[in-house]
Amino acid sequence: MVAINRRAILKGSAALAGAIATPRALSAAATEAPRLLLIIMRGGVDGLSLLPPLGDPDYRRLRPNTAVEDAVALDGTFGLHPGLKLLRRLWDRGEMAAVHAICTPYRDRSHFDAQNVLESGLPGPSGTATGWLNRAIALRPDPARLAMAIGTSPSLALRGPVTVQSWAPSVLPDAGADLLGRLAPLWAADPLLGPQLRQAMETRGLTAGMGDMGAGANGAGRIRPLLDGAARLLADPGGPQIAVVDSTGWDSHANAPGLLGRLTADLDNGLEALIAGLGPVWSRTIVVMVSEFGRAAAENGNRGADHGTGGMAILFGGAVAGGRIAGQWPGLGTRDLLDGRDLRPTSDIRGLFASLAHDHLRFPARAIGETILPGISPDPAFTDLIRA
């Protein structure tokens, strides 16, 4: 009995030592691989405030109290929310682009189902869905190393057959290699828990020294430690090529100007750390910010807007051919709106994901249409937003 257990512990320790060594020993090709960071803005971002259509004659009629008048003009029609200062600078450098009136195929305005569709990349919500990015990396060798969830619990986009690594800022004490070596064989016997600890021990080599990065679990500045960590991991030659971060709180039902002012300032603060940290891989990086839906075109009685449909996506990074807004603008006239209330979607967000998978991550179109985003092809409207 004792002998068997001791052998199991030795095996656990050897696996740990090997795992720490390997991430550094990747091929040069892996270090030149493209990087993709997906930021999921939960709550339904108001695209009409972040990228206000100042040139649309109906905008101020629909938003008499909440139109973003101090937006910075991007082109003849659209502006950028004044809180997003760094994005404005990237726009000027041709490294930021946006897509307007984009949405998932889901139309029923529930946050949770819409997020399920956004992250699964499937036509409708499903309780058993896997994430589109998980299905993508599953097609590549050694998939668990390719992607990483940033945050304590992984987003659906990264859940599925491949157990991906995850990382979150922590101020808890380090467990220590000796204790982990003793626990590893106990956890290995548990089919649910075992794989998680094995992955975690492999990640340890990568994230050593990143434990105490000042997480504010509650309140302001929530996004910065996450984006700072994501940048360091993506910039590490042995780190992941794909990462997903959640940005929460965008459900602007009431007092939207104040709420969006705080959230954009928080995001801008986080983007500063992100852009600085991505330095060595910046030229190969695309960061894409999406949300489950947009908000109703007209403001409600509380200086907010209720759940809507057509929304926006923002792309930035050294691999973005930016300085332009893609997608067809449907207009805000009464007859242009979906169900008489929402910005009408003119493109499917899965087409944008397919373009990123094809033109940036270099997945074959066939694998995309069959497995990653079933039935979807790269959307030609987005191809020229990505630098080849």
Binding site: P173, A200, T203
Partner: protein
């Protein structure tokens, strides 16, 4: 018939076994559990002493706001409300870790999560504890309809989902101020609290219920009998009949929406979702279909009697299969504190919940926290659970003998491999960390 094992009784239906000779925390029997389903949880636990009722907190908030009239008021209140949040969250942990009625505490956490209010909205942080004590606790073994009405009337929910600002556009108040409707509360009642997103409602039903709920608001200081408490504010109520799911509700003031809520509670779609909540929590992530059907039937036969449904779960052998559920971070922290005794509860325990990703009353959205293992499985979660065990063990030092501790808190769930590995630990502290991090302590 399976054995009603003491370790399963304590960990599946409560927050676990305790170490040490405290009689109040002696293992519960099957009969103790049945007894708890026949009465409501106590609301005067000593740990609740000194906590303020919601109307008191809201009234103070409103008085300061009326004096200042400044939108920065939330900032002003962040300090005191943060203090109230910490006091409330500490009291909640003390009660869950120290009450003999563990099933009651588990039911309170379960239904509080079903009807999530979240401190992600700053004002809710200070009011969430009062919400749980006042709207949830008295009703978890009563009728679901009473629980629902108590929740929707509670000032914390009214503030969380913006109903105090929802004015009927044709009401006198709406016409005078130009403030319109906000359908947030109505939508979440349908989507999350009652019939569910697949329950067969449309946008018009959301709007209909929102119209009925206009006027469900809070009393203003100097203008009502209970400032800060629930008040039906007739002057902003949208007049007329309103329709929900094909049925017209006559304008009877606050009774209009209350009748609609009680009708929603009586629907089979709601029955199925309540059945799933209970079965998923006490049996397995994917509970057996036949049990769900029987629970749904009992719900409809008994007018939604939650005590009766809980007894039906207790009577099912499958609820007594050990170790089928992964502990959530909240389960893990509370069961660790319970194992060590309620005296171990302090502010650090409240912060540990945040570190593990499940801060008290701070779910990311009104959907609340997931009750399935998948949502709580990640390599980072795994490492944080082990680090939490290390933090607790470091604090205990060598005061506790690991072998006795393991036997007391895991009972029949302790595996030989864990016992052997703990026996070989390099120190008592490491042995304690191994027990608290052992896979059988991560499950319930």
């Amino acid at each position: 018939m399976v054995m009603h094992d003491a370790a399963v009784a304590a960990t599946r239906f409560g927050f676990g076994l305790a170490f040490g000779g405290d009689d109040a925390l002696a293992p519960v029997t099957h009969n103790d559990l049945i007894d708890q389903t026949r009465r409501a949880p106590s609301t005067d636990h000593p740990a609740f002493a000194g906590l303020r009722p919601v109307h008191d907190l809201v009234r103070e908030f409103m008085q300061v706001r009326e004096r200042g009239g400044d939108p920065a008021i939330i900032e002003l209140f962040r300090g005191p409300f943060r203090q109230t949040y910490l006091d409330e969250a500490t009291a909640r942990l003390k009660v869950a870790a120290g009450s003999r009625d563990g099933l009651h505490e588990r039911l309170v956490h379960l239904w509080s999560n079903h009807f999530t209010v979240s401190a992600r909205k700053p004002i809710v942080g200070g009011l969430a504890g009062a919400f749980e004590r006042e709207a949830i606790r008295p009703h978890v073994t009563g009728r679901f309809a009473d629980l629902l009405v108590a929740v929707v009337r509670h000032p914390t929910m009214i503030l969380y989902l913006d109903n105090a600002q929802s004015f009927g556009p044709n009401s006198r108040g709406g016409r005078y101020t130009g403030i319109g409707m906000n359908e947030n509360l109505a939508r979440e009642i349908l989507e999350l609290h009652t019939i569910g997103v697949d329950g067969g409602y449309a946008q018009a039903d959301v709007a209909g219920l929102a119209r009925m709920l206009t006027g469900w608001s809070l009393g203003r200081p100097g203008k009502s009998a209970l400032p800060g408490g629930f008040l039906f504010h007739e002057v902003v109520h949208e007049p007329g009949d309103h329709v929900l799911l094909g049925k017209a509700y006559a304008d009877e003031g606050a009774m209009q929406a209350e009748r609609a809520l009680r009708d929603l509670a009586a629907l089979p779609q709601t029955a199925r979702r309540v059945a799933l909540r209970l079965a998923r929590h006490f049996v397995a992530d994917a509970p057996p279909q036949d049990l769900l059907e029987r629970l749904t039937g009992t719900y409809l036969d008994t007018g939604g009697d939650l005590g009766e449904l809980t007894r039906m779960v207790l009577a099912d052998d499958r609820a007594w299969q050990p170790q089928t559920k992964l502990k959530t971070p909240n389960d893990l922290v509370v069961s660790t504190l319970r194992a060590l005794g309620p005296a171990s509860v302090n502010r650090g325990a409240v912060l540990a919940l945040s570190q593990l990703g499940q801060p008290a009353w701070a779910a990311p959205s009104p959907q609340g926290w997931a009750d399935e293992a998948g949502a709580w499985l990640s390599p980072d979660q795994a490492m944080k659970r082990i680090e939490f065990a290390v933090a607790i063990a470091d604090r205990l030092g060598d005061r506790v003998a690991p072998d006795r501790f393991a036997g007391a808190i895991l009972g029949t769930q302790l595996r030989d491999e864990t016992r052997d590995a703990v026996g070989r630990a390099e120190s008592r502290t490491q042995g304690m960390a191994m027990i608290l991090a052992a896979p059988e302590f991560q499950r319930r």
